[in-house]
Amino acid sequence: MAEAAKSRGEAPAALPTWPDEIYRVLKDAGIRQVAMVPDAGHSRLIRSFEADPETRVVTLTTEEEGVAMLAGAWLGGERGVLLLQSSGVGNCINMLSLPVICHMPLLMIVTMRGDWGEFNPWQIPMGQGTRPSLEAMGVIVNKVDEPDLVASAVQGAAHLAFNTWKPVAVLLGQHVLGAKNFKELARK
């Protein structure tokens, strides 16, 4: 948090503070296993967990592996989080049967694509399908579009997941993440 405050004071536009805030929130929630397919929006959080000897960061080949892995973690008494991009939600659908039918907690933090400000048309189908797919499978969904609300959203989702044994997803909108424009990059 000191680093976050420093970044606020010295370079307010450069570094958002929410990745450090949700790292702290997830640590407080007792997260020990981090399963992820990387996304740029999660890169700072992933670096924090990789530097933390108390957490195990597992890189997946597809996101549904993480749903299964965190079910195993729960069976063994550890809490975890799944970090993924919205496109990866589609890879999880049938595996979500596992936490749903077994009443296991599952905390997913999903960085959105195919939403506000998107430049890549191929991201649209799954981006727009993210919430309805999750809800169709019985996952509780909370979308955040304000950077200042990210930490409390993740904290609330962690409490909800681990105290009521439910799969819960927090969707971080492109308002929070900043939408990329690869067409501008291509012109440079």
């Binding site: 080949t61 299964a68 079910a71 973690a73 063994g76 008494g77 596992l98």
Partner: protein
């Protein structure tokens, strides 16, 4: 290659041997026949038999093995189930928990759906895939003596191990564990974590 089916191992002989004197071994069973085989060897609170979640068995094993490093975890699943998330072997090889063994009962068939051939029937070598991923203890098992070696590896937990066990494509009577996921989850957690698991 063995082509005479009479020379192939019988799946319940294999599983009975893997689970012999199981002590506090933790077992994940993949959906379908591996579930029935593990249940036929004896229902047990330290079993987590799957009725769905195809492709998830080995990764459930990974999460469990990381959470319980002092316990030994044995995943018993089928070739179709393993193939559905074959990338899991890459993820597991990188983590390499010492206490995780994956035993694939390979009948070269999708047994529950009409005995259609899986890719292993055409020579796909799961043990070689596991080796190539970096799981150094990886082998094809064709004899009961090799099953006993695998059983000892799983119980000793000296490194991640993988085995592709060639079995007869026989269809046996279903022996079912409880189907309710909440019962399976709760009794497993209570057995592994104690009564505290009921309050968390």
């Amino acid at each position: 290659m063995t082509t005479n089916p009479n020379a192939l191992l019988h799946r319940r002989d294999v599983v009975n041997e893997l689970l012999r004197d199981r002590a506090d071994l933790l077992v994940i069973a993949g959906l379908g026949a591996p579930n029935w085989d593990v249940s036929a060897a004896g229902d047990h609170p330290n079993n987590f038999p799957l009725w769905g979640a195809m492709g998830g068995a080995s990764m459930i094993g990974l999460g469990l093995a990381l959470a319980q490093p002092k316990r030994k975890v044995l995943v018993i699943t089928g070739d179709g189930e393993m193939l559905m998330n074959i990338g899991s072997l890459a993820s597991i090889a990188v983590e390499a928990p010492k206490n995780l063994t994956i035993a694939v009962l390979d009948n070269e068939r999708f047994g529950e759906t009409g005995m259609q051939k899986t890719p292993t029937a055409f020579g796909v070598d799961l043990a070689a895939i596991a080796t190539a991923c970096g799981i150094r203890t990886s082998r094809i098992v064709r004899t009961q003596a090799e099953v006993t070696e695998l059983r000892d590896l799983a119980h000793e937990g000296r490194g991640t191990a993988f085995a592709q066990i060639k079995i007869n494509p026989e269809a046996l009577a279903f022996v079912m564990p409880p189907a309710d996921g909440v019962i399976l989850t709760t009794r497993f957690r209570q057995s592994v974590l104690g009564d505290e698991a009921l309050f968390n």
